[in-house]
Amino acid sequence: DQQVKQNSPSLSVQEGRISILNCDYTNSMFDYFLWYKKYPAEGPTFLISISSIKDKNEDGRFTVFLNKSAKHLSLHIVPSQPGDSAVYFCAASAGAIQGAQKLVFGQGTRLTINP
């Protein structure tokens, strides 16, 4: 089941530069997308989300872009800081208006910010 894919298992970025994490999906029923950050031995921590009616959502250093025609979303972090080093998961859900909806996760991308 590869409905949500993060093709880059790891990414290394210099402190102060932009980090771009990518995510592709196949299920056209997905209407809500989220990015979670995860440290070892902790649960996923919510970062930012976007509804399918938008193409961009910004929160401080974090911006998520959604390209529905390409079924692609990306997370931009600028400027990158050492504390951003973690595993980032893309997740998607469908039809939340109808009730509880599971999240489908990508495999994760390990981001390392180098000083």
Binding site: A41, G43, A96, Q98, G99, K102, L103, V104, G106, Q107
Partner: protein, 113 residues
């Protein structure tokens, strides 16, 4: 900021034994979920729970699994007879409304020997 808590943080059990994983959700949240992550794999959905009943379950969530919210606060996942392949991190999550963000607990690491 309210947090989701889970106990125990680590559970070691023998194959065939029953385990109960506990979660204390954020108060007033109405939708509850269990997910798991086998080492090196994706976080995968197990079950969703709303209004005291299961909303959806994955094919992983077979007859060996059950969930309940016995006292209106704790949300538990029970595995009746554990198998080696049940070894994983188990995360509970909850949300206020179905359209809101799901907030995750820190997880319980289950090791089946």
């Amino acid at each position: 900021e309210p947090e989701v808590t889970q106990t125990p943080s680590h559970q070691v059990t023998q194959m065939g034994q029953e385990v109960i994983l506990r979660c204390v959700p954020i108060s007033n949240h109405l939708y509850f979920y269990w997910y798991r992550q086998i080492l090196g794999q994706k976080v995968e959905f197990l079950v969703s729970f709303y209004n005291n009943e299961i909303s959806e379950k994955s094919e992983i969530f077979d007859d060996q699994f059950s969930v309940e919210r016995p006292d209106g606060s704790n949300f538990t996942l029970k595995i009746r007879s554990t198998k080696l392949e049940d070894s994983a991190m188990y995360f509970c999550a909850n949300q206020l409304r179905a359209t809101d963000t799901q907030y995750f607990g820190p997880g319980t690491r289950l090791t089946v020997l």
